[in-house]
């Protein structure tokens, strides 16, 4: 099926490596809507909503940011830290959204598992339901994410 020009432009931007290494799509061969649909189904199975996940991520990032790079204890099992990097990264969707290159790392102390996300990841999940394509360095696996950030 032919794609609309807007969609083509968006997919080209997502594949472009101007902003994010390997592009937001990584080496994923699926098209954008397939990626989004698959992850939406995955989080539905986990009983979560994308807004809920994004809100939790934002909350953890805010807590971590107050630590200025140090580990901050959240609840019993979770530690988070946020790390700022120079520059801003724009959202590839056609609206003016730029995020700090802040990377939050969450560590589950019992299992030692960690997961990291950038401020842009939060925005992409909240507004676009996009967890990035497989092979992208900032791809987030919904199951893994939910397991860590919603742990008790």
């Amino acid at each position: 099926m032919k794609k609309s020009p807007q969609q083509e432009k968006l997919e080209a931007l997502l594949k472009s490596s101007k902003f994010s290494m390997c592009g937001f799509m990584g080496d994923d061969k699926r098209n954008l809507w397939e990626v989004i649909d698959t992850d939406a189904t995955a989080i539905e199975k986990l009983g979560k909503k994308q807004e809920e996940i994004a809100a939790r991520m934002q909350h953890l990032t805010d807590l971590a940011a107050s630590g200025l790079g140090d580990w901050v204890q959240v609840g019993k099992n979770l530690q988070v830290s946020a790390d700022d990097n120079r520059g801003m990264i724009p959202c590839p969707w056609p609206h003016h959204k730029r995020c700090l290159k802040r990377i939050t790392t969450a560590r589950h102390s019992a299992t030692g598992r960690t997961i990291r996300w950038s401020d842009l990841n939060i925005h992409l999940i909240k507004e676009h339901g996009f967890f990035e394509g497989r092979g992208s360095p900032f791809r987030i696996e919904p199951q893994e994410l939910v397991k860590i950030i919603f742990c008790e």
Partner: protein, 200 residues
């Protein structure tokens, strides 16, 4: 034929091509872009306007080419090639003009123009014009009506699909599946107009 009855005849052609003989929903021409570019009303309106404009102009150009080039030499069987070449050249030309003189219009509409070259509804309208032996004026009204009819259908579809984003659609039917079902239902509704007006 008096002037007013002539006017009425043209109006009949116009409205017939919009409603009873809708090129998209009664003839199923131009389905590809109809399915692909009907996600949002805004883009559907853009593409629809481009189709209205191009269809009206190309029907007129093709009529002239048919009447003054193909008919005199009795090579009507070349109309497919000639019409397509004329449509392609016209779209290219219009794209250049719009880009040069109206960047805003170009941004809104220009990106749809290349899509239109391969829209079978445009060629279809020119071929119907030949089959039905329209005069130039009739042809123009027919092209205009067909374009408006196509736009009406795609905008209606985009409106429905925008609402559909809030609906729970079974997974297997999402995307093209549900769109085709809706197109079928819309076509049924339009077929209800059959016989109300007869433009041919």
């Amino acid at each position: 034929m008096t002037l007013s009855s002539h006017m009425i005849h043209l109006m009949v052609i116009l409205f017939a091509s919009i409603f009873t003989d809708n090129i998209l929903l009664a003839r199923f021409l131009g389905m590809c872009s109809f399915l692909a570019v009907s996600r949002q009303v805004k883009t559907a309106v853009g593409l629809g306007l481009a189709v209205v404009f191009v269809m009206t102009c190309t029907v007129a150009l093709d009529w002239l080419a048919y009447r003054y080039i193909l008919q005199p030499y009795q090579i009507e069987y070349f109309r497919f090639i000639l019409f397509i070449v004329i449509i392609a050249a016209f779209v290219q030309f219009i794209e250049m003009v719009i880009e040069r003189y109206s960047p805003v219009l170009y941004q809104n509409l220009g990106i749809f123009l290349p899509l239109i070259t391969v829209n079978c509804a445009i060629l279809g309208a020119s071929l119907f014009m030949v089959i039905r032996e329209y005069t130039l004026l009739e042809g123009i009204f027919f092209g205009l009506g067909s374009g408006i009819g196509w736009m009406l259908a795609i905008v209606a579809m985009a409106g429905i699909r925008e609402k559909l984003t809030h609906a729970r659609i079974p997974k297997g039917l999402q995307g093209p599946g549900i769109t085709l079902i809706i197109a079928g239902l819309m076509a049924l509704a339009f077929i209800g107009f059959t016989g109300v007006l007869s433009g041919g």
